[in-house]
């Protein structure tokens, strides 16, 4: 019991520090502004394009594409958000401070992932204005909105895990961000590979490995248990890789 308490405490301490760092730097605000402008413009366009304002069409022609786009944009934003997490600590030698402390690798990694996740959640929360606007025009299909937000958050969490791993591989921020993109884009390509094969089993296998495939289940409102299993094992895998990467610094 006390062990769990210590674990939570260590994670919390680091998360607090990371959050402070994130929100004291202009990066978050620049990214948020960009994100808002982009999303607002998309929302406006989709809204104009959809002629009849019924629940059915609003879901189909506005919400689904909006969440799809949000997810896609975070493919780029997440590695930028996370690029500092380990790379900068290495560059400034502060990683030694963390590694000689009582904190375990696990606490360090989870603390950083959570801090970046909360930062992303803050950015995503700025889009809550869309459902509110829709509500004013009488939209009432809330379950799909909830599950879509859930889907976006989970898939962004995956991106952040990958971004943190990329950051732990290098001391260079640009390399870190690019590496993050590349891994995420590479994973996206799985679904295209899936489409290109004639073998149904192989196609399904590749599809299963791509995050967007699972994300779609959330947006369509057809969440299965294997979606969760995939997303959590994905995060577990990259958290473990990050741990190995930190460990390898010790030779």
């Amino acid at each position: 019991m006390t062990k769990v308490k210590v674990l939570v405490r260590g994670t919390y301490v680091l998360m607090k520090k990371e959050l402070k760092e994130n929100f004291l730097s202009p990066m978050v605000y620049i990214l948020s502004a960009l994100f808002c402008i982009l999303m607002g413009w998309l929302f406006f366009n989709y809204l104009i394009a959809s002629k009849e304002l019924t629940d059915q069409t609003l879901t189909q022609s506005v919400l689904l594409p909006i969440f799809g786009n949000m997810n896609f944009i975070f493919l780029f934003l997440a590695p930028i958000l996370t690029m500092r997490s380990f790379a900068e600590e290495k560059k400034l030698h502060t990683l030694e401070l963390l590694l000689t402390s009582r904190l375990s690798h696990f606490e360090i990694i989870i603390g950083k992932i959570l801090a970046n996740f909360i930062t992303s959640a803050f950015m995503i929360s700025l889009t809550l204005i869309f459902p509110i606007v829709l509500a004013m025009s009488g939209y009432s299909h809330w379950s799909i909105v909830f599950s879509s937000y859930g889907g976006v958050l989970l898939s962004v969490l995956c991106y952040i895990t990958v971004g943190c791993f990329a950051s732990s591989m290098t001391e260079n921020l640009v390399v870190s961000a690019l590496l993050g993109f590349c891994i995420l884009l590479g994973l996206m390509l799985f679904s295209i590979t899936g489409n290109a094969t004639n073998n149904l089993l192989l196609a399904q296998f590749f599809q299963y490995l791509a995050i967007p495939f699972h994300f779609e289940s959330f947006v369509r409102g057809g969440i299965r248990s294997f979606n969760f299993i995939y997303l959590f094992s994905f995060m577990g895998f990259f958290t473990y890789l990050t741990h190995l990467s930190l460990e390898s610094r010790r030779w």
Binding site: V13, S25, E96, L97, L98, R102, L103
Partner: protein
């Protein structure tokens, strides 16, 4: 006296480099232990191993009698490390940084009191609310030292704490180290010997991953003092004097330099006996002696002598 740090047959091999070759090191509790060696000797590597930052390739590490490699979490709170590169978050305020260091090392109940004490001791009162990135190098170094002290570790490891500081800042850091002696065991690395001579009780000399000498400062120093250099200024130098000096058995080397007032003899002497009297008389008999002084041999030079054989 019990040991704060005990390394037994520690070897560290980096890919292609043997950084430490079977070293044994004992640091007694309550002492300031100087760890001297030229760059690349393996000082930082040793300190990182003690602090648990990297594992040794083979060997044992004991901290306060605890097996450090098997109980890393037990040991981490007992050791405060100031790495070679001060690990500072430049965007944090001094106070917040120190509190963060307390928190990640398991803050105790009396944390706040300790924080105040360390801030005062490191003389950081005036800068406690300032961003670390805006401080001068000397202050940064003191903040980094405060970081190692602020969670109540008994053993403090300082890796070249005075490198790159201006003379005033060096004095400050040295005073601080001296003050810490009352409550802490300190392992201090440096490549400048005169620093060690002022503050250390015990000294270990390391070069190329091997321990060359270890022991109380006086013992090592007396070994050093076997090498002495006298500088003698004479108006002119006769051949007979030159020959007679060269013939003396205790004179190891004789350099003759030009000097505006005549000739400067630099005489290197080995042995414990005080031969200044005889030497001065001999020279004064032959020519006019203007000046006779012992040249404080830079410990660097002495060090080179020791390392040579």
């Amino acid at each position: 006296m019990s040991l704060a740090i005990h390394l037994k047959d520690v070897t560290k091999v980096y890919p292609g480099v043997t950084a430490l070759d079977n070293i044994n090191l004992q640091v007694k509790k309550g002492t300031i232990h100087g760890f001297i060696g030229p760059n690349g000797a393996g000082k930082s590597t040793t300190m990182k191993i003690i602090a648990g930052l990297i594992p040794p390739t083979s060997g044992f590490v004991e901290v306060d009698g605890i097996e450090a490699l098997k109980n890393p979490s037990e040991v981490s709170g007992r050791i405060g490390l100031l790495p070679e590169q001060p690990p500072l978050y430049l965007g944090m305020r001094v106070e917040d940084y120190l509190r963060f260091s307390q928190e990640i090392n398991g803050a105790q109940e009396e944390g706040q009191a300790l924080l105040e004490k360390i801030i005062e001791r490191c003389r950081l009162q005036d800068v406690r609310k300032r961003l670390i990135g805006n401080l001068s190098k000397g202050f940064k170094q003191r903040v980094a030292m405060a970081q190692a002290l602020v969670y109540g570790a008994d053993i403090i490891i300082l890796d070249e704490p005075t490198v790159g500081l201006d003379p005033n800042a060096i004095v400050d850091v040295r005073d601080l180290i001296h003050e810490l002696k009352k409550e802490h065991t300190i392992l201090l690395s440096t490549h400048q010997l005169h620093e060690v001579a002022r503050i250390c009780d015990e000294v270990t000399i390391i070069d190329k991953g091997k321990i060359l000498r270890t022991g109380p400062l006086e013992v090592i120093q007396s070994e050093f003092s076997a090498f002495k250099t006298y500088e003698v200024l004479v108006k002119s130098l006769s051949q007979t004097l030159k020959d007679s000096l060269r013939a003396k058995s205790f004179i190891q080397g004789l350099d003759i330099l030009d000097h505006p007032e005549g000739k400067l003899l630099r005489i290197r002497v080995q042995g414990e006996d005080d031969i200044r009297g005889t030497l001065a008389r001999d020279i004064a008999n032959e020519c006019s002696l203007l000046e006779f002084r012992e040249r404080k041999m830079e410990l660097e030079e002495v060090f080179r002598e020791v390392v040579r054989d």
